[in-house]
Amino acid sequence: MHEWKEDSRRTEQSDLEERLAAYYGPQLREQPLSSASWEYLRSQLGSQRPPKRRRMLRPRSFWRRGKPSVPEYIRETFFRIAHEARVSYPLSLLQCSYNACVPTVHVSSLGKHNIKLVLPSAAETSISQPELDVLVATGLARYLCVRNPSYFMIRFLIAIVLLLASLASIIFIIQGRLIMVFPIAIILCTLGLLHVQGRRSIFRADAQVVKWLGRERTCRGLHALADRSPSPRRGKWGEPSLAERIKRVCGTQVTIEEDRLMLVR
C-alpha cells in the first residue's frame, strides 16, 4: 500500500515536471530586434555616471566642478558621425567651450581632449544640425590626419629644424655675423612649410568629411558656417578660409571632376 502511494506520488511529480516544461516550452532560438529598437533604447540611455571611486580620486575634480561637460545633442552627433565614419573613438576626446561668435573646431595631437569645439553661447538653439555635423566630422577627420605617423614625423622634423635655426640665428646675431641671414631664411621657409602642411591637412580632412557625410550635407554645413562668419574670406595662418574650403568642396573643381567621369562613361 505504502509502495503504491510512493509510485503514484512519483508519477504525479514527473507529470508535473513535464507539464511545467511544456508550459514554458523549449529553449527558443535567438530573437533579434530591429535597429529601431536600438535607437529607442539609445534615446533612453542618457548620461553615464562615472564610477564613484574614480570621481573621488580625480585630483582636478574640485575646480572642474561646474564646468560644462559635453551636452547630450553634441554627444549624440559625435556618436552618429563616428558610426557613419566607421571609426570608434571615446567621447573623452571631445571638449566644448562656449565663447565664440563663429563655431570652430581645434585639433591637437597632444593632451587629453584632442578635439575642442568652440561654440557660441546658447549653441543648442542657435547652431543648426548641418553646421554641427560638419564641425564634429571635421574634428574627427583632422584628428585622423594628426594621428598619421607621416604627419607627426614631418611636424617633428620641422620643429627640430626651426629650433636649430633659431639657435643659430641668435648666436650669429650676437656675434654680428652676416651669415645670420641663412638661419633666418631657413626659419621663414620652415614656417611656410608648416603653413602649407596645415592647409593641406585641412583640405584632406575636408575630403574625408565629404566621404562620410556626402557632398550635399558638407556643403550645406560649410555655407551655414560661412553665413555666420563676419569674414569668411579671411584665413588664418596654417588654415584656409571658409570661402576656400567651400570652393574646394562645393565649387568648380568638383564639377570638372564629375564631367571627366561622365566623359569616361
Binding site: E17, G25, L28, L33, Q48, R49
Partner: protein
C-alpha cells in the same frame, strides 16, 4: 585576459553609447529569447529586454572588469522579467491560440524538442497550469519560472533572487506541492 568585450564595457562605463550598442548587438537576441520564454508575450518580452539593457547601462559602473558580461546581463534580465510579470500580472491573462502556435513554430525550428499532440488539448492543459500558477504566491511563482522557464539550477536561482540555496529548495518544493494539489483538485 583582457578581451574586446572588456574594452567595450570599459568604454560604455565612461558613457560611450557606441560601445554599448556593440554589447546590445551581441546579446540582445539571446536576452529577448529568454524573456519571451518566460512571459510568452512578444511585446512584453521586448519591453523586458530593453528594460534589462537600460538597467545594465545604469549598473555598468559596478561591473567588475574581466568577468563575463552575459551571465551578469541575464541575471538582471531574469530579475527584471519577474518584476514586470508580477507587476503586470501576465499570469492572469489566458493563453491565446496564436501564442501557442508561435511557440509550436519555434519548437519545430528546434529539432529534438517539440510540442506533440493536439493543439487544443495543449491549450486546455496550459490553461489549467496557468490558473494554478496564478494561485501561487509571488515567491513561489518566481522560483518556478526560473527553474522551468529559464532552466536555472537551484544555485543559480539563489544568485538571481539573492536567496540562500536552502530557501530556494524549500520554496521550490512547496511550490511544486501546491501546484500538484491545485491541479489534482481541478481534475477531481
Amino acid at each position: 585576459m583582457v578581451t574586446c568585450e572588456d574594452d567595450l564595457i570599459e568604454n560604455a562605463k565612461h558613457g560611450d553609447q557606441e560601445a554599448f550598442r556593440h554589447l546590445w548587438e551581441a546579446h540582445h537576441a539571446i536576452a529577448m529569447a529568454a524573456a519571451l520564454r518566460l512571459c510568452h508575450h512578444p511585446g512584453l518580452s521586448e519591453e523586458i529586454t530593453q528594460g534589462a539593457f537600460l538597467l545594465a547601462w545604469c549598473g555598468l559602473a559596478g561591473f567588475k572588469r574581466g568577468r563575463p558580461f552575459r551571465p551578469w546581463l541575464m541575471r538582471i534580465l531574469y530579475r527584471h522579467a519577474l518584476d514586470v510579470i508580477e507587476k503586470q500580472q501576465t499570469f492572469l491573462r489566458p493563453i491565446s491560440l496564436d501564442e501557442l502556435s508561435e511557440l509550436e513554430r519555434q519548437a519545430v525550428l528546434n529539432p529534438g524538442v517539440g510540442i506533440d499532440g493536439d493543439l487544443q488539448e495543449q491549450v486546455v492543459q496550459r490553461e489549467e497550469l496557468r490558473q494554478a500558477l496564478a494561485q501561487l504566491n509571488p515567491d513561489q511563482r518566481r522560483v518556478i519560472a526560473l527553474r522551468y522557464g529559464a532552466d536555472l539550477t537551484e544555485a543559480d536561482i539563489a544568485q538571481v533572487l539573492d536567496w540562500h540555496v536552502g530557501t530556494v529548495k524549500s520554496r521550490l518544493n512547496r511550490a511544486r506541492e501546491r501546484l500538484r494539489v491545485l491541479l489534482t483538485s481541478e481534475r477531481g
